[in-house]
């Protein structure tokens, strides 16, 4: 389970919407499952939860491409694709 902490003892806030990344605020360090510590250099960061990011531990939105291709293959498999202009 990914953790995060603030050196100044600020309350770190972590949120997640649906299957999206973790949105982490007020953290100085994000600690990933393997115990490695990652410096946070932004006021708010998105931490990958799909493990497909090319910039782990940070989200690079690859989850959307993965999700879209999954949806596409599901749609293709129905042989009745919804077409839009």
């Amino acid at each position: 389970m990914t953790r995060a902490y603030s050196r100044a003892g600020e309350q770190v806030r972590i949120e997640q919407h649906g299957d999206g990344p973790l949105v982490v605020r007020h953290a100085d360090v994000v600690v990933t499952d393997d115990g490695r510590e990652h410096e946070v250099t932004r006021p708010v960061v998105a931490v990958c939860t799909c493990a497909k990011s090319q910039r782990l531990p940070w989200c690079d939105s690859t989850h959307k491409a993965v999700r879209d291709s999954t949806r596409k293959s599901v749609r293709d498999s129905t042989r009745n694709p919804v077409r839009r202009a």
Binding site: H17, V44, V45, A46, C59
Partner: protein
């Protein structure tokens, strides 16, 4: 001052888009010594005369995108994602990533400088127009865009540094003469939405579309810049946006647009209009840019 009757698609009208752009720029910082026109009643009257048909045509062009999204769900975040998933337009980032020549990448960077050298300024006008959690989240996002306390990370400054390293002119407006109407329209839309209180919902929707369609394309554009051998400083600007905009996407969808629609439910369709207008114009501008490269080659681009 009446507009000519024979104007068809205003998004391709160079004179109209350039005039509107010059009038909007009065509210930023690009025309040194010429700021007296910002509240000149005659200039404001012309601005309103030009922006009314511009807005009307955008509303008409995006009406189906908005109504389809409204029918797809009751939740504004799902609706925004619906508009994005069904937006028309070519994949410009993919082309820049895989196929564009060095000159085409430079052309893209020069034309985009009209926006990136004043990045996030248009949406800053909206901070004072909204309240509560949406205001807090918008300020948080803008703080990151404006360098998060570090002047060297100011996005517009990073872009200027990239242009300079790539041998391009980093001065704002340097490439205005070769910026086509459709790219001016992309910029005018942001000013139209940012400078009108009644369009604050659309401005937030526009920001949602912008941030939610940025992360993956920026990764591709950075790779394209590296592929054609342009300097790292230019690629850095786009690399910066991959992680930043992945976070901004979450903030703008849920904390900005979600909170805003909760506090002002009658603005829901306006938010979607902003999303649709952004993507509609982005598509037109991308098509025009790719088309200009085909014309210049006097042949067909490889697909």
């Amino acid at each position: 001052m009446p507009l000519p009757d024979d104007l068809d698609n205003l998004m391709f009208e160079e004179d109209l888009q350039l005039a509107l752009w010059m009038l909007y720029e009065q509210s930023y910082r690009s025309f040194e010594g010429a700021h007296d026109h910002e509240w000149d009643p005659a200039a404001v009257a012309v601005r309103r005369r030009l922006e009314a048909p511009f807005e009307a045509q955008l509303r008409s062009a995006t009406a189906t995108m908005v109504s389809d999204a409204l029918e797809s769900s009751d939740d504004v975040v799902d609706q925004i994602e619906h508009v994005i998933a069904h937006a028309p337009g070519p994949d410009l980032a993919r082309f820049l990533h895989r196929e564009a020549t060095r000159e085409q990448v430079l052309d893209f960077l020069a034309q985009r400088s009209i926006y990136h050298l004043k990045e996030s300024d248009p949406h800053s006008f909206v901070v004072g127009r909204v309240g509560g959690p949406a205001k807090v989240a918008l300020a948080e996002l803008q703080y990151d865009e404006f360098g998060a306390g570090r002047p060297e990370r100011l996005h517009s400054r990073m872009y200027a540094a990239g242009l300079e390293a790539a041998g391009l002119d980093p001065a704002f407006g340097a490439y205005i003469d070769r910026t086509p109407a459709s790219t001016l329209a992309v910029n005018n839309l942001m000013s139209l939405l940012g400078l009108n209180h009644r369009l604050r919902g659309a401005a937030l929707g526009h920001l949602a579309a912008f941030e939610s369609t940025s992360s993956v394309p920026c990764r591709r554009i950075a790779a394209g810049i590296e592929r054609v051998g342009l300097p790292e400083a230019m690629a850095d600007y786009f690399h910066e946006h991959v992680e930043a905009d992945a976070a901004h996407e979450q903030i703008v969808l849920h904390d900005i647009c979600g909170s805003f629609v909760e506090s002002e439910p009658d603005q829901q369709a306006e938010v979607l209009f902003g999303v649709a207008a952004c993507l509609y114009l982005d598509g037109i501008a991308a098509e025009a840019l790719l088309g200009s490269w085909i014309d210049a080659d006097d042949g067909e681009l490889a697909s």
